[in-house]
Structure formats: structure tokens, C-alpha cells
């Protein structure tokens, strides 16, 4: 069913070859949701075997396209020309915040990589549905729409596509255990290696599946983070974002965790 000879990674994610890292991530999340195990959109069209194939393709495509160097290599081989205004990804400072970070409530896809890409590229989200939905809040009188209104300022939630990420389940960890010894060790911890993260996750009685569903980070990445298989992970800026999300989900101090994890990452892993 899938024309694998002529399908590029960009086709698989349904994005243009000049897509920004943010667009790539959004497309990946969307695709994962569409072909996930319980996706209602699959009913009557795709069976389990087909979906497995699709997911494999998606993961493979994202693994390459989310990594700036791998992407460049891929683009070169497959003849995708990049416009010159695309900025170098590896000089991004993950700690950069953008104006948008204030308006968005924290949710799974508002990771640091996104903000960093935003701040550097200065572009908004995908233009296909973009600010067309940013009309004034509804009033009793219906405004005159016979003339096309100029783009209204983006209000809470902003564009239609932005809003999809905005409402997530609030809490993953239901009852915070009271094992005082372990709680104490969490407070005292500074290194936050992968093994420790796994311990905390198990202590909080959260499975990898649940964590994956909540944070939208794939199971293989969560595994790789916990077992410190850095090669299997995308660029550092994304890893930091993932670790932050995982920490938040597990009710840890995300800044502390990210700092600890990433310092080990940087000291041992040179791409």
C-alpha cells in the first residue's frame, strides 16, 4: 500500500522540505496521534499490520529529520535544496525563552526546543491553517465578515492549529507515595542519571506506556533516556526538552533534573 520507493521522509511526515524543526515536531506528533494504537481515525481503513508499518516509517523519518546533521546529510543525498535563510540548528541555546512561552499554558509540546527554534527563526506555526482562526472573541453581535478582516492579533490560544496542543491531562501521577526514605533521596539527588529517572518512574507507579502517552514522547526515546543510549536520541536540544517533560510528568523539579542529566550527557557524549 505504501509507495516506499518514491516516498521521502518529508512525504511521510506530510511536510515541505524546508519545514522548520518546530513544524517537523508538530507533524511527527500529529502523525503519531493519527496512527497510534487507539486512534479513532483508523477505524475501517487500516489494520494493525498496516499501522505498524506506518509507525516504523514515521519513527525512522523523525529520527533523521529531527537531527540537524542527519537531516543535512539526507537532504544532500536526496537532492532537497535548503533556502539560505534557515539558521544553523546546533547553535540554539535551549534556555532561550520566547514571548510565546508566557501565553501558552504548559503542555507536552511546549518544550524548550520549540521555543528556541521560535526565537531564532522568528516564524510562527505552519501557515496552512494559521492565524485564520484568530478572530476577535465572540460577541453578541456577529461582526461583518463580508470583507475579509486583516489578521487579528493572536489572543489566548491563538491559531487553530496551535490550540491542539493546549489541553492535556493535568496530572499523570495520582497519589504521591509516602516512602520518606526515597522521597528524601529524591530531594538530595543532583545527578539525575537515566537509572535514577527509571527508579522514580517505577516508584511513582507509572509505566513507560503511560509516560509516553502523557508526554507524547515515544517509548523508544524514553527507554533510550533511561538507559542513556544517547545514540538513539535526537539532538541535545530535544533531549533536554524530553527530560524536562519527563521530570514534570513525574513531579520532579524539571530544571534540576535537566541540568543534572544534560551535564552527564554533554560530558560523555560527543556526536
Amino acid at each position: 500500500m505504501f509507495d516506499s520507493e518514491s516516498t521521502s521522509y518529508y512525504d511521510i511526515l506530510d511536510i515541505k522540505p524546508d519545514a522548520s524543526p518546530n513544524e517537523i515536531r508538530q507533524a511527527y506528533l500529529r502523525a503519531k496521534a493519527a496512527y497510534g494504537k487507539n486512534s479513532p481515525a483508523l477505524y475501517s481503513l487500516f489494520d494493525a499490520a498496516d499501522t505498524r508499518k506506518v509507525i516504523e516509517q514515521l519513527e525512522q523519518a523523525y529520527l533523521v529529520l529531527s537531527n540537524p546533521e542527519k537531516r543535512k546529510e539526507y537532504d544532500k543525498i536526496h537532492g532537497f535544496l535548503k533556502p539560505s535563510h534557515l539558521v544553523q540548528q546546533h547553535s540554539l541555546n535551549p534556555a532561550l525563552t520566547s514571548p510565546l512561552s508566557n501565553t501558552r499554558s504548559s503542555h507536552a509540546s511546549s518544550d524548550l526546543a520549540e521555543h528556541a527554534a521560535q526565537a531564532v527563526l522568528g516564524t510562527s506555526f505552519r501557515t496552512s491553517v494559521d492565524d485564520l482562526f484568530s478572530v476577535e472573541p465572540s460577541e453578541p453581535r456577529i461582526p461583518d465578515i463580508s470583507r475579509i478582516a486583516p489578521k487579528a492579533p493572536v489572543l489566548h490560544g491563538g491559531s487553530f492549529e496551535e490550540r491542539i496542543g493546549s489541553i492535556q491531562r493535568a496530572h499523570l501521577v495520582r497519589d504521591l507515595q509516602a516512602d520518606p526514605v526515597f522521597e528524601e533521596s529524591i530531594i538530595r539527588e543532583t545527578a539525575f542519571r537515566g537509572e535514577f529517572l527509571r527508579k522514580v518512574r517505577e516508584y511513582r507507579k507509572v509505566s513507560i506506556d503511560e509516560l509516553s502517552e502523557f508526554t507524547k514522547i515515544s517509548r523508544s526515546y524514553i527507554n533510550a533516556i533511561e538507559s542513556e543510549e544517547f545514540k538513539a536520541l535526537p539532538a541535545a536540544v530535544y533531549v533536554r526538552g524530553f527530560v524536562t517533560q519527563i521530570a514534570k510528568a513525574l513531579k520532579l523539579e524539571s530544571e534540576k533534573v535537566a541540568l543534572g542529566y544534560m551535564s552527564y550527557y554533554k560530558s560523555t557524549y560527543k556526536k
Binding site: F2, Y43, V129, I142, I145, R147
Partner: protein, 329 residues
């Protein structure tokens, strides 16, 4: 998706769109369909028409759910003296006499009420004549309320429109029926396309789900046709590209209900190879059933409900899209 005889261009947004000097005003046709019954097609058609009319456009809302007419109720009009059945029976051959005003200025209705038994089984010639007469109406927009299901008449009304909107609710039954509708409309379009005469035998075969060539999806079909003849494959792809249905999700209660639209869009692209555009959603709101029971138009009866914003956004999106497209011509 425009009519083969006379492509309906989008209406001009300059000030003179109200001009009465043109014998046949350039108009745009929106059709609201989708496989499953009870998902809100009549509601959507009625209120999209209201939004367009309030924008200053002259709008005719037309009930093409033959044998199951509900549009008059959603628009809050009394059952008219003259309706479509009078037109079909030739009691009233002038379609303009069958138009009735509504409580909304600039909005007129052709109702399907007082229908003759058997009107759902419209003959091909009657359907063609009806479409021709409708296109001659003096209006900026025609909004078709289609029936449920995938009968040829319904598909043809949908394909005849400039903007075809599929309504669904985020439930497996509705989703499955939407895919059925897309598949049926898709094949109906291909089978009636002049440029694809040579491929019809293959299309016939492909339409049987369990055919010998293992064509399970339209994407497979394109592959098989391209094998036979790259030129035919190209023509097939071009026809397919013209099929751009829009999607609206009704009765949304959660974020994942909203997100399903993007998933469906993605799945459509992969399975059918068509570009489904997700144009908006409607929140679940008790205002809807309340307005229906009162037999009053939703947007008039509950002007502060969430759906007002929902509808505005959809219309804004659709108008903006069409304007962009017309600029390209």
C-alpha cells in the same frame, strides 16, 4: 469539484456584489454532506447560510435531503406553501417562485417539505434540470443541505458544489461512514470524469473491495493505473487532486475530539491520496437541541453561545481560502 457545465467562480468581495444588473450572478455553491445521519448537516447548512447572509451576501439555502427534509425547521421558517416537490411535479416550473424568505435578511430557502412520496428516487434528468435551475438563481451563495448516505444523487450534489463540507461527530460509526462517503464520492467522480474513460474498467474492478488485483485503497488504484499507462496515471492523479472536501467536526467535547480532525486528514491523505481540509469544529452545546425543539435558528436564538464563534471561524476560514484561490486565477 465545480460543475462541469459552468464553473461557478467565487463571488466578488468588492462593494458591487449586490448589483442586480447581471442576469446570472456569479455565485459559489457550498454543500454540506457526510455519510452518517444525525450528525448535524442541516444545522450546519442552516447556520453557515445565516453567517454568509449576515455578511451582506444574498444566500439561498436549499434542502436537497430529498425525502428527509429538515432545513426549514433549522431555519425557523413555517412550512412553505410551495416547495421542491412542486418544482419536480411541474406544478411550479419557475424555481424562483419556490424561494421563500426567512427571518434573516438576505437569506432565502428552498424547502424540501410537503414532499411527494418517492421524491428521494429522483431521476437523473430531474436532478440535472434541478442543478441547472439552481445555478441560475440570483444569489451570491447557494448552500445545499444534503442527505445522509451515499446514493448517487447525494454524491452528485456534493461533487457539483465548489465547496463540499463533510460533517461528522467524533464516534467510530460516524468516522467509518465518512470514509465510506469519501470513497463513494471519489469513485463517482472518477467514473464520471471524461478524461478517464479508458480507465473505467479498472475503476469498476477496483470498486469491489475484494478484487483480484489487491486494490484495497485508492492509492493502490493509482499505482495499478500508472503501471498500465503512466499518462493515465497522471490524469488520474490530476482528477483526484481536484477533489478537496472540507471537514467539520460537530459535538466536540474534548481536546482529543478536536484532534481527531487532524488524524482523519492524515489518514485520508495516506489511504485515499486526497487532501481533506480540516476547516473547523463545533462545540457540543445544549443550545443546539434547545433551538431545534423550539424550531428557531440557533445563531438567532442563542447569540452568545460558543457556536457563534465556532461558525464564524469556519466561515472566515472558508472565505479566506476561496479569496486566495481566486487571486491566483
Amino acid at each position: 469539484m465545480s460543475a462541469p457545465q459552468s464553473p461557478a467562480a467565487p463571488s466578488d468581495f468588492s462593494q458591487d456584489f449586490q448589483s442586480d444588473t447581471l442576469p446570472t450572478r456569479l455565485k459559489q455553491v457550498w454543500a454540506v454532506g457526510g455519510g452518517k445521519g444525525g450528525v448535524g448537516k442541516s444545522l450546519i447548512a442552516a447556520n453557515l447560510a445565516i453567517c454568509l447572509a449576515r455578511g451582506g451576501n444574498k444566500v439561498c439555502a436549499i434542502d436537497l435531503d430529498l425525502g428527509c427534509a429538515n432545513l426549514h425547521t433549522c431555519l425557523g421558517t413555517e412550512i412553505p406553501a410551495l416547495t421542491l416537490s412542486d418544482f419536480f411535479s411541474r406544478r411550479e416550473p419557475d424555481i424562483n417562485k419556490v424561494l421563500v424568505p426567512t427571518d434573516i435578511p438576505n437569506l432565502f430557502l428552498i424547502s424540501g417539505a410537503q414532499d411527494a412520496v418517492g421524491v428521494a428516487n429522483l431521476k437523473h434528468t430531474q436532478k440535472s434540470k434541478l442543478l441547472q435551475k439552481l445555478h441560475e438563481l440570483d444569489a451570491d451563495y447557494l448552500v445545499f443541505d444534503l442527505g445522509a448516505g451515499t446514493a448517487y444523487n447525494t454524491l452528485d450534489f456534493f461533487l457539483n458544489a465548489d465547496v463540499g463540507i463533510l460533517a461528522l461527530i467524533p464516534e467510530p460509526t460516524s468516522i467509518e461512514n465518512t470514509y465510506r462517503f469519501i470513497k463513494s464520492a471519489y469513485y463517482r467522480k472518477l467514473k464520471t470524469a471524461e478524461s478517464l474513460i479508458d480507465v473505467r474498467p479498472l475503476l469498476d474492478m477496483a470498486m469491489d473491495q475484494k478484487n483480484t488485483l489487491e486494490i484495497r485503497s485508492p492509492a493502490d488504484l493509482v499505482r495499478e493505473v500508472t503501471k498500465l499507462s503512466p499518462e493515465m496515471g497522471l490524469r488520474l492523479r490530476q482528477e483526484i487532486m481536484q477533489f478537496r472536501p472540507r471537514l467539520m467536526i460537530n459535538q466536540v467535547r474534548t481536546q482529543s475530539d478536536i484532534d481527531v480532525g487532524f488524524s482523519i486528514k492524515s489518514v485520508c491523505k495516506k489511504y485515499f491520496g486526497i487532501n481533506l481540509e480540516y476547516v473547523g469544529y463545533l462545540d457540543y452545546d445544549s443550545a443546539v437541541w434547545q433551538s431545534v425543539r423550539k424550531r428557531r435558528p440557533l445563531l438567532l436564538e442563542f447569540p452568545t453561545c460558543k457556536l457563534v464563534g465556532n461558525f464564524e471561524r469556519v466561515v472566515h476560514h472558508l472565505l479566506h481560502q476561496e479569496k486566495q484561490r481566486s487571486v491566483d486565477f
